[in-house]
Symmetry: D2
Subunit: 135 residues, 4 copies
């Protein structure tokens, strides 16, 4: 079992759509912001370091269930947990919770693929990276 890490996101007014809720595509932006922060702060290998080693991460799959609307003023907690590694891919479960009562606003699964920036093709995740991320 891998660790669950958490990031705090502040809803910005420009995230709100005509329904007065956080626009549904912004959930993916919150997830991205959380992963960036956690790569740097928790896994100690930031996106920058991946790029310096000639890699980047692309999203292969997103599956997200919207449970509860998020509103301006809501404090959003984005939790993520790696589920598994397989070849070039890493599967990450995520939860978005709001407020002190931590009500579940969304949950889902993201599949990321490691890409060689040189070839533009997926590459097997190197063992030292798997280890760094196996916490």
């Amino acid at each position: 079992m891998y660790s669950v890490f958490e990031s705090k996101i502040t809803v910005r007014p420009d995230d709100i759509d005509m329904n007065n809720h956080v626009h549904y595509s912004k959930y993916l932006d919150y997830l991205l912001a959380a992963r960036y922060e956690q790569m740097h702060r928790d896994y100690k290998m930031s996106m920058h370091e991946f790029i310096d080693r000639g890699f980047t991460w692309f999203v292969s799959n997103i599956s997200i269930e919207f449970k509860r609307a998020m509103k301006l003023g809501d404090l959003v907690f984005v939790k993520t947990q790696i589920q598994s590694y397989q070849g070039a891919q890493s599967t990450v479960k995520f939860w978005m919770e709001i407020g002190e009562k931590r009500k579940l606003a969304a949950e889902g699964i993201a599949v990321y693929s490691l890409i060689s920036t040189k070839s533009g093709r997926p590459v097997r995740i190197p063992q030292d990276i798997v280890e760094k991320y196996s916490i």
Copy 2:
């Protein structure tokens, strides 16, 4: 089997992210733009008319597979097809294709729930709407 409808989306420069591709959350915005156009143009019952009848649509689930990056200058075709109705929910399959060769950039499933704007709760899709949308 329900009809497949199609919308043409022009990629805007502000859709492009630091990887020089259409940012992954923008795919959901393209899907939304396509559904809005198709509700009005193809199903002949626009989002406006839903709101006038005291309804709105919320997204319950999105499952999307990213197959190929979309770039600035790409012509994007968003195709959608209703799969089924069940209670308050409608399930829609979608495809995003690029260029004249219609290369598949993404595909997925969206589940929408009809919401009463008065109660904020899901409501069974009225029979006349199911019929209007059963083309």
Copy 3:
């Protein structure tokens, strides 16, 4: 002379554009986020309270000078200062600074108009609001 208030903005990955900088329209989103926070935290009359009283603020004018690119990882400080009130309008100067050295990334002037949500027309800013905001 009115007070200068400050908000801290965290650059999100989705704010970055194809030039690897914060996209130029996002500066306006940062300004909006800062004003919302400052209305609530510093002036003690949030946008919510304006709406409850039948008002909203629209932007009439923006003049912005881009001095220095902001990047992912930059800590952004958005400072604003009311310059004057006149009828329905309030003029606000703003500065965006980055990092501990507070390098100037942008500065400009925003003119806001108080709108009656009922009529949709500009209305003279009520005296009690001018006083609340004259700090």
Copy 4:
């Protein structure tokens, strides 16, 4: 006097904010989309060609007056006209009009600076480019 060129923009649902209007920062995105199209279609030298020659354009200044809200379903026409060249800078006037009656929604001035991608510094606009753009 330089030519006025025009681009047609379709408002997308994700451009709409909590006030049910096109969000104010999106006006800058519409301007950018219009300039990109016009560089390619009207001036016959696209942003791509600038990048291939080692240049890029940065925005130095924007001054915009918001006159009328734009809504979902509005057809937006973005007109631009070069005003002058000076050193590395080009000054462009723009207008945004809506609907068949061409009601003025916004107007303003943008100042762009030509940047050498190698040095990251402004460079005098080469004479052959000034000529290409002096139509």
